[in-house]
Amino acid sequence: MNRSSLVLLKTLLRSTSQLNIYRYGTDKKKKSRVIGNYIGMSVLYLMLMAYCIATCIGYGQIGITDAIPAICVITISIISFFFTFFKTNGYLFNFKEYDMLMSLPFEARTVAGCKFMYMYVKSLGWYLSIALSMMIGWGIYAKPAVLAYPVWIILSFFIPVIPMLIASFIGFVIAKISAGFRKTNIVQTILTFIFVLLVFASRFVIESVFKNGKGKEALESVHLYVDKYARIYLPIKWFENSVCRLKIIDFLLLIIVTVTVFVLIFIPVGKSYRKINSNLKNHAASKKYSMNDLRKRSVVNAIAYKEFKRMTGSTVYMTNAAMGELLVMIMSIAVLVVDIDKAIYTVLQGAPVTKEMLYPAVPFIIYFCIGMAATTAMTPSLEGKNYWIVQSLPITKKTLYQGKMLFNIYLTVPFTLFATICFCISMKTPFMTALLSIVLGLCLCAFSTAWGCVCGIKHMRLDWENEVEVVKQGPAVSLYLLPNMFITMALMVLVVLLGTKMDQNVLLGGLIVIEATLAALLYRKAMSLCILP
């Protein structure tokens, strides 16, 4: 890294540093929010570390300690790949201060490289938390040589880099292709969706290959999986050999290959960087507009429509908010055409669960896709510097947030209905159970909308530099997502178990009452938050 890269990287990090806001800001509210953020993040880090250590202890107890290093690399690689892929547009391309940076005497490659390094440093804490806590868990059972620990620590800094570079390069290719089109945003969104679906599909392809080749053993043996992945992705092998067998060649290979890939990727990126950003940031004026009949909408619907246009106008927002809906759509069509019993057997990897047992879990399976992102958790913060527009409108905050909630309902309900009906047809669910599943699905949509709105209003942050900070890293989104995800996962298992002990319709009825009550309470809470200044 040369001097100008270091200067730029230091400034990029400082410009988004909470510490800088705390040290130099005068707004007490902002300062206390910084402290709150630090505490919240520390709790999340600790939770993650505790989870990783506990997982490793579990691995140790079932006797697969030697697979931990590979599992560590696979986990970090997958997380870093997806984290980076969704951040590329917004951090690497199409960012706000592009004009300011590019008018300074920096090589395009330097700007792109520093933006990448910035992404890396900002997320390094998460990757190190996983790597170091897994090292502790592994150390307890493997009792390795002392030298293995510094080797593990050093390589922990390199593990996420290659997946991040691959994700950035794919983001670059998508941006390059989209930049050639008039509707760059739409093309970029579609390509992103296609790519994510391909990745999901490839997982099943890889697994089916394993199963075809090895039959039952593949399902039973973690080692076989790990070995297969290590053959596809060599850094797993290099890391394993470095820490388990202290092989210096593998240690050096991992470092050298990482650095080489970094250099190689930023040569083409640097060459096309200005062109891509020019095209992404500039749109030709459209052809002469002819005034057609303009449609009158109610105030709440007008806000919901504004939310729709806001979402479709941003690739980052769209790919995060609507990915679940797209997955559910594909899943729903798939369950209609494939044998549902085989599908259940494949997904649950042979667990003794019948389709009848899964009836009450269907709304939660669908919700697990759709409900993990609520536009209401993002959209209050996404107003950003345009917040004055809605503030200056002659409407109450209640109306504003009702409009935002209505949009989330418009987005989630049709997909929930469609998916529930498809699942019920495919699983031949009894009529009453199907009806109750649909009602429960709708209650979950209402719950997700209201819970998202509470999180969105309570943790509204308007002073962001980049949409990614709200959509992927915002406190409102984290607070909405994490408990929601864990509780939904737990409920999926719980309802299957309870469904075998009691009448499924009674169970669904009870859940409907609980979800509807929670949704109503959260709606009231959201409305009460609207009174606050």
Binding site: L8, D99, M100, S103, D463
Partner: protein
């Protein structure tokens, strides 16, 4: 003082899809000591041209030279001697003003004494010295504009490119900026700026170009162009003729 071409735009064309041209064969020259006004309606192509000059926007046809260096082939050389003040500066909001100015000074490798001297001089002129330790997010639009102007002057450029520099400035700051522009022009620095405030352009500029739908429709010395008329009258006449 001997005049020298600092900015030469030769046949610059920026096309978008479907044959739409935001800038069409733009050609003009700004010499040292010139204050060159670039005027036109909204969407005429002023900012597109300015962004290409400062190396932000890619273009395929024509070329732009700054002090003899091609923007396409030697972008870094060009940027080292150019300063850019955008119409709506996107500064790092969570840095303090002094941290931001320090960053710019670091990029241009300005030594500590020099940067202190220049920052103090211009911060005093714009009366923001006391606020340099505050976060930029607490600044008003006008203060951000003043900060962007100071950051542009740190490295003593040969060419200053400004996009609507007077927008958001209070009357006193506008006056200060005009004084600075005159001083810089006396030192032989070339200034190329876009504006909608035609009476300011008339008083300030010695040269002017009018752009419409991406094409330069008139350019030259201010006195030759306007004669006994005002720049506003000339602009409206010329723009209407082209309809």
């Amino acid at each position: 003082m001997e005049k020298k071409a600092i900015l030469e735009i030769k046949g610059y064309t920026k096309s978008y899809g479907e044959g739409k041209k935001a800038a069409d064969n733009v050609t003009l020259t700004v010499e040292s000591g010139d204050i060159y006004g670039f005027i036109g309606h909204n969407g005429a192509g002023k900012s597109t041209t300015i962004r290409a000059v400062v190396g932000v926007l890619d273009f395929s046809e024509g070329d732009i030279y700054i002090d003899g260096h091609s923007v396409k082939d030697e972008p870094i050389e060009c940027k080292k001697i150019t300063a850019y003040i955008p119409d709506n500066p996107d500064l790092y909001e969570n840095l303090t003003a002094i941290q931001y100015l320090d960053f710019i000074a670091d990029v241009f490798e300005i030594d500590e004494e020099k940067r202190k001297e220049v920052i103090k001089k211009y911060a005093d002129m714009f009366e923001i010295t006391d606020s340099l330790g505050d976060l930029i997010s607490s600044y008003s639009h006008g203060m951000k504009q003043k900060l962007a102007i100071i950051s542009a002057l740190i490295h003593e450029p040969k060419l200053i490119v400004m996009d609507e520099p007077f927008v958001g400035l209070d009357p006193k700051a506008s006056y200060t900026l005009k004084q600075i522009m005159h001083d810089l022009c006396d030192q032989g620095i070339a200034i190329f700026f876009s504006t909608h405030v035609l009476d300011v352009a008339q008083k300030l500029c010695n040269k002017v170009a009018i752009i419409k739908q991406g094409k330069i429709i008139d350019s030259g010395n201010m006195d030759d162009m306007i004669g006994n008329q005002s720049l506003e009258e000339v602009f409206l006449e010329v723009a209407d003729e082209q309809k």
